[in-house]
């Protein structure tokens, strides 16, 4: 083990940023150090306590990152590319097992004293098999969680005060029993044949709840959700979303079909777009929707 090459550093000893982006991490399945600065994690690791992530941090293909209940992952504000979005990022190209509990959720958040949307970039799962994200809270990100080219389970999480709660493409994941509250976009997706299922989630107070950008069709299943209080549109088709999408059997907070239609931007408002089929719709809220109380709701 070449300690000189280690890039992860205890904040107590480090006190500096800008360590080599591609330096190798010390191998071994050990308790995690507190500060990661543009880290390339090339072995299995387990995180607990408070973790600080600076810049882009990557878990290598073939490696598993386990995050224990109660862990708080913070992203300090750094914006090297001056795009107005904090650079803090965690990309998992291996596998992530982040399982919080009712009483001890895992939190991904801004390190700013006065946090705001886009303080950090995202947690991203890419080319991953069977990742698990449960009882986590994502807040103040550009996107709380992005999932691309992966399989896994996204369950019992709270996405709040993000620019986008979630984004996915070409995935086969289950997104269930989550709360999406007060995000600019609830879920943005470009499904491309994804067999992702979105059910038993609560969406409340999002600017645009569903944003299918393009190339999404009915391989994605979206049903049994409570879709409430969208500030702009509950469904907003991107300008290249030409295919119809099935949004039937969801609760829209009303039984007035015309009121629901008013919340949907699709073929009914732009003839070049596909249609969001929302009839039949549910006549009452979905039972046991949102974060499961048996496990606990992140506060």
């Amino acid at each position: 083990m070449k300690l000189a090459a280690a890039f992860v550093t205890l904040a107590l000893f480090a006190g500096q940023a800008g360590l080599p982006a591609s330096a190798a991490a010390a191998p071994g399945k050990t308790a995690a150090p507190a500060v990661y600065d543009k880290a390339y994690i090339q072995h299995d690791e387990t995180w607990s306590g408070e973790i600080t992530l600076i810049g882009q941090n990557v878990v290598k293909r073939g490696c598993t990152l386990t995050i224990l209940p109660g862990t708080v992952v913070k992203f300090p504000w750094v914006d090297e590319d001056k795009n107005g979005i904090g650079d803090g990022e965690l990309t998992i190209e291996g596998r992530i097992i982040a399982k919080g509990t009712k009483d001890r959720p895992i939190v991904f958040t801004s390190a700013q004293p006065k946090p705001k949307i886009k303080d950090w970039t995202f947690v991203q799962i890419a080319m991953s098999k069977n990742s698990i994200v449960e009882y986590c809270k994502f807040e103040y990100a550009f996107t709380g969680l992005q999932v691309h080219y992966s399989t896994g389970t996204i369950k019992d999480n709270l996405f709040t005060n993000n620019f986008e709660g979630m984004r996915f493409s070409t995935t086969d994941v289950l997104i269930s029993h989550n709360d999406f509250i007060n995000n600019n976009f609830g879920i943005r997706f470009e499904a491309l044949g994804s067999r992702t299922t979105i059910r038993k989630n609560v969406f409340r107070g999002n600017g645009q709840t569903f944003f299918p950008v393009r190339k999404t069709w009915n391989s994605v299943k979206i049903y049994d959700n409570d879709i409430l209080d969208s500030k702009e549109y509950a469904v907003n088709f991107g300008m290249n979303q030409k295919k119809d999408i099935d949004f039937t059997n969801n609760w829209w907070g009303t039984t007035d079909a015309s009121a629901i239609e008013a919340l949907i931007y699709d073929k009914s408002k732009d003839n070049t777009l596909g249609k969001a089929d929302f009839i039949p719709f549910l006549k009452r809220p979905v039972k046991d929707c949102g974060i499961e109380q048996g496990g606990g709701r992140p506060e």
Binding site: A21, V58, R61, H148, Y149, S169, D172
Partner: protein, 385 residues
């Protein structure tokens, strides 16, 4: 004497050694430049010249840095050129224009061979532009001339607010079915990418039509890919056309009609497509699966932005060979993010090979101009489902 005129003459004088070499087109002898053959209707073409410009703007302004001697009986040509990246075109002008007084730094000797096309002239814009002159080598560049048969004609349209563009795509006088005409607002992206708008594929009659166009100038490019795809590099047997009289002014309330002869099949344009041309700056390695086996046929990509997915790469390799070996030709040194996948264009799909260089966490490599970076292996996996 006017001080500006003194300056202009001084500049012209200082440029003369270069001008003389280029304009008089002596037998090339520096070892660096371009060579090739000019054809028209699949026949070698004698008497055309190849024009080398420093920028696309210079090409539009008929301001070459050097011009070849007329092509020989076998259509061949060769010229010297300092190392660098250039835009090349071939022309056969029935009437050599009487150029105006050269500006400072211009070559009177060179300029006298260049000028705007007239109906009846022949022209070919090299589809691989820009092309790099590699030190110590004459890079092969082929041209297939198309005759400028008729100027753009306009007729009244019922749509008074927008313009309409129509025409027939032909090759050797025959309609080309399945060609897509793409409109570009300028040449800054070297006519790659999606452009401003694209026509539906032409039918049996080779006719295309695009409506609701803002009143402005457009550069027209026609392509037909034998594999039926709408994007990606051209391959042997594909068609490419740069409209001879680009740019075309589309007028509101008018239907602009063009005769669009595509230059030729890609294989006849040049042996080296721009994406694969030898630039002297290479990134190379192998594309391997999770068991270390070569993935034949996968493409390697180089991006200039960290986020690789959903975007068009800056450079693409030819398909990896049976050993998984790929070569990325890079135009200049810098930082590039390296990935590989099965297909070109669109977002990766289930079951497709996909992966990134793993020597660095963000998948980047640094390369200097003229450097060959070896051993940049790219592990790929099939997108799980």
């Amino acid at each position: 004497m006017n001080k500006y005129l003194v300056f202009a003459l001084a500049a012209l004088f200082m440029a003369l050694p270069c001008i003389t070499t280029a304009g008089a087109a002596p037998e090339p002898n520096t070892g660096t430049g371009f060579e090739g053959r000019v054809v028209c209707d699949s026949q070698v073409f004698q008497g055309a010249r190849v024009y080398v410009y420093k920028s696309f703007g210079d090409m539009l302004a008929d301001r070459p840095v050097t011009v070849s001697a007329p092509t020989k009986e076998d259509g061949s040509w060769k010229l010297d050129c300092p190392p660098g990246t250039y835009y090349l075109a071939a022309k056969q002008l029935a009437k050599v224009p009487a150029s105006g007084a050269p500006a400072a730094g211009d070559s009177a000797e060179v300029l006298k061979y260049d000028g705007p096309l007239a109906v009846g002239d022949c022209f070919c814009f090299q589809g691989s532009n820009p092309i790099t002159a590699v030190p110590g080598k004459y890079t092969h560049v082929g041209f297939a001339l198309v005759k400028y048969s008729a100027s753009v004609s306009y007729s009244d349209s019922s749509d008074k607010d927008d313009g309409t563009l129509t025409g027939t795509v032909t090759w050797s006088g025959q309609p080309v079915k399945g060609a897509i005409v793409t409109l570009y607002m300028d040449g800054k992206d070297n006519f790659r990418g999606q452009g401003y708008s694209a026509s539906p594929p032409t039918g049996e009659d080779g006719v295309f039509r695009m409506e609701f166009l803002p009143d402005t100038d457009y550069f027209l490019i026609a392509r037909k890919r034998e594999n039926g795809k709408k994007a990606g590099p051209l391959h042997e047997g594909d068609y490419f056309g740069y409209y001879v009289a680009n740019p075309v002014h589309v007028k509101a309330g008018k239907v602009a009609k063009v005769d669009f002869g595509v230059i030729s099949k890609a294989g006849e344009i040049g042996r080296e497509d721009s994406l694969f041309r030898d630039t002297g700056t290479h990134i190379t390695g192998r594309i391997l699966d999770d068991k270390g086996r070569p993935v034949k046929g996968a493409y390697a990509f180089a991006y200039i932005e960290k986020v690789m997915a959903h975007k068009r790469p800056e450079f693409i390799s030819r398909p990896a060979d049976k050993d998984g070996v790929y070569v990325l030709n890079i135009s200049k040194g810098g930082t590039y993010y390296i990935g590989a996948r099965s297909r070109y264009g669109g977002t990766p799909a289930f079951g497709e090979w996909y992966g990134s260089y793993e020597g660095t966490g963000d998948h980047h490599v640094n390369i200097n101009t003229g450097q060959v970076l070896k051993g940049i292996d790219i592990p790929v996996e099939k997108i799980p489902q």
